[in-house]
């Protein structure tokens, strides 16, 4: 995972609440066994007028010019501004991979669905929770100012832009992991002895968890 310290980029505003992961990356693309190749199909049913299929050339698709991300002003956007409960629904991590591959490094919203939030942290996509009043303010600014950019400083836990500044909260550990690009599994395996110790205690206490159909004491 690439470290995230700070990022400055164009903000795209997606003014919908409850954006679910079925919208972020529709099911037909989940057949892939790879972690890559999802960027062209981010928000597929919204971005294009024709039905998307795996392997379909994005250059031959019919673009939905009414969809915000297709507006020229948002070309190259790397910060997504969204509404409440972003990423609800399916646990598909492909949603995070698709957002990243499209070019997003950060999503700002008043609230996120739990699983999506977690998946983002695991991949170095920074989910920034900002109070609704700040998000409202940002939607106003971005709406009026084409090409508006923000700088998201994870160390300082700040979102800064022309005429805008807000502090955000994030727990210390995910913050450290994002900033250092740490291997999550490696960090847990550092506790391997504790896991083994727990496991043998657990096995004594609850042997039925380990013994399939067992009847021994």
């Amino acid at each position: 995972m690439d470290p995230f310290e700070q990022h400055e980029g164009t903000v795209a505003a997606l003014d919908r609440a409850n954006v679910d992961t079925d919208q972020i990356i529709p099911k037909q693309f989940l057949k892939s066994i790879r972690r890559t190749g999802f960027g062209d199909n981010l928000f597929d049913a919204w971005r294009y007028l024709d039905e998307g299929e795996i392997g379909k050339n994005a250059n031959e698709r019919r673009i939905n010019h009414d969809f915000v991300l297709n507006e020229p002003r948002y070309a190259g956007a790397s910060i997504l501004l969204a509404r409440d409960n972003f990423g609800c629904g399916s646990s598909r991590e492909h949603a995070v991979w698709a957002l990243q591959e499209y070019g997003f490094r950060c999503v700002i919203a008043p609230s996120f669905a739990d699983i999506f939030f977690n998946n983002s942290l695991k991949n170095g996509l920074l989910p920034v929770v900002l109070d609704k009043k700040y998000v409202d303010e940002l939607f106003g600014i971005v709406h009026h100012e084409a090409g508006y950019t923000l700088r998201v400083d994870l160390g300082a836990q700040a979102v800064l832009g022309s005429g805008f500044s807000a502090h955000f909260d994030i727990e210390s550990e995910p913050k450290r992991q994002l900033m250092e690009g740490l291997d999550d599994i490696g960090a847990t395996l550092a506790h391997a002895d504790a896991i083994r110790e727990f496991e043998s205690r657990h096995r004594r206490r609850m042997p039925w968890v380990f013994a399939r159909g067992g009847n021994t004491r």
């Binding site: 066994i33 629904g89 646990s91 739990d114 727990e171 291997d183 599994i185 727990f198």
Partner: protein, 471 residues
């Protein structure tokens, strides 16, 4: 000191370590895998030169992608080469790492959340995870069960643990008797309609109250299944006799002396009288009528006797906008009685409603009746091979077939339409599944979520209708 909730008890029994930063390393007892969210996790494991921490904690089955017809040839019968590759990769990974799999031709194959409980691989007090958000289903057994992403699938494979922060406790107490013709599906849709799709975000829900106690285990699974549609990763029900009666004698469940020991422990999996809940919601079951979702979020739900709302019915501007968008997508006019809306396809199945009791409930409505001529397709998709066998032994397949239903092989099918079972643009379904998001059941398809009995009633009438009037 305040007592503990069921969630607290299971959590406490699985804490390996609390890190300096306050995050908990939580031990995972059971890890369920399927073909869609595991390939990248196995790849990551291999790239890092790691192997599964405890092979026998894992149980795999292909379910999301498998066709529900032409199953005699197993994987070779999958026409879609991309889907086929994914199922083959699961086969390979399970062989390579020695993970038990109910492969496509195994009679026990089925939807991962149906087979866990069916096999007794889901036991009370367990921590259970799977790369699928409907893992909450297993909470019906007083297990702590929730969905995880693919990175976490890899993490669990490699370490048998997850790094977690504890959720808050929420109790949803449903008292009174569910009226005739209403089910656990109507109960959970009604709850989601009240609290919204983010209503329980950050919480583990405990469903309690006399109406919940009165539910069968299968109905409790339906209830817990849709916790995620209320924003909660986990939902659970405390242990009682129904829990233990269901588990007893299942292949993975303990027997003999070990059962007795397990039972002693499992009986403690009820919330203490003085346990503290961060949020409590009360609901009267007697007021619940059969539910039908009308919009593109599970919270947009109506009683069968109600009319499609107008944007102005909502005070919150965000809800107003959601309503407007949903009306347009669903092609519905405000004020339309939901009980007059015609359906094109009917889907009975999924991890929400693909178990034997669900098929029985639908068959009861269908017996001696026919699917309306205006309905393009009606399909029944059992949740597992064993559910299918049981249904056939009871003659339910004959009832479905003679009513004009297609009788399919097990899988997730039209719940998420990764295989060929799907809606086509503009079509409208009555579906017993769990999500009515835009395009969920097919590009530009329109989904209405209902109970199995209500889906059967819609199939017969050709439009949504009150199943209580058909009985």
């Amino acid at each position: 000191m305040a007592g503990k909730t069921v969630y607290d008890k299971i959590w406490d029994a699985h804490v390996v370590a609390v890190r300096d930063d306050g995050m908990t390393i939580l031990y995972v007892d059971r890890h369920l895998l399927h073909e869609v969210t595991s390939p990248q996790a196995f790849e990551g494991l291999a790239l890092a030169g790691r192997s599964p921490w405890r092979r026998d904690a894992n149980l795999a089955t292909p379910d999301h992608n498998v066709p529900t017809t032409n199953r005699a040839h197993g994987v070779d019968g999958i026409d879609d080469p991309v889907a086929k590759e994914q199922v083959l990769v699961l086969d390979d990974n399970c062989k390579r790492y020695g993970i038990e799999q109910f492969a496509m031709t195994d009679r026990r194959q089925g939807i991962v959340h149906v087979i866990g409980p069916e096999q007794g691989a889901t036991l009370p007090g367990m921590t259970i995870v799977c790369g699928d958000s409907h893992t909450s289903t297993h909470g019906a057994f007083a297990a702590l069960a929730h969905g995880i992403g693919t990175s976490e699938v890899e993490h669990v494979l490699a370490t048998q643990c997850l790094v977690q922060r504890k959720s808050r406790n929420m109790r949803i107490e449903v008292d009174g008797e569910l009226p005739f013709g209403t089910t656990a599906k109507d109960m959970i849709l009604n709850i989601i309609g009240r609290i919204g799709t983010a209503g329980a975000t950050g919480h583990a829900i405990e469903y309690a109250g006399s109406a919940v106690r009165a539910l069968s285990m299968e109905a409790r699974m339906t209830l817990c299944n849709m916790s995620i549609e209320a924003g909660a990763r986990a939902g659970l029900v405390a242990v009682d006799d129904a829990t233990l009666n269901y588990v007893h004698g299942r292949p993975f469940a303990p027997r003999g002396a070990m059962w007795d020991r397990a039972e002693d422990y499992w009986r403690t999996l009820v919330s203490d009288a003085d346990a503290n809940f961060d949020a409590e919601i009360g609901l009267d079951a007697t007021g619940i009528v059969p539910q039908v979702t009308w919009g593109t979020s599970p919270e947009l739900v109506l009683g069968i006797d109600e009319d499609v709302p107008a944007p102005d019915d909502f005070d919150d501007p965000a809800k107003r906008e959601l309503c407007e968008r949903a009306l347009a997508y669903m092609d519905l006019e405000p004020g339309t009685p939901i009980a007059s809306v015609p359906v094109d396809r009917v889907f009975i199945g999924s991890c929400t409603n693909g178990r034997i009791e669900d098929l029985r409930a639908a068959a009861t409505v269908l017996e001696g009746r026919r699917v309306a001529g205006s309905v393009t397709q009606a399909m029944a998709v059992p949740g597992s091979g064993l559910v299918k066998e049981q249904a056939e032994a009871e003659g339910l397949d004959a009832i479905f077939r003679s009513a004009g239903f297609e009788w399919r092989d097990p899988g997730c099918s039209m719940c998420l339409a990764m295989n060929d079972d799907r809606l086509y643009p503009g079509e409208r379904s009555a579906a017993t599944s769990n999500r009515n998001f835009e395009g969920r059941q097919g590009h530009q398809g329109r989904t209405h979520l209902v109970s199995p009995a209500m889906a059967a009633a819609a199939a017969v009438a050709g439009y949504f209708t009150d199943v209580r009037e058909l009985a």
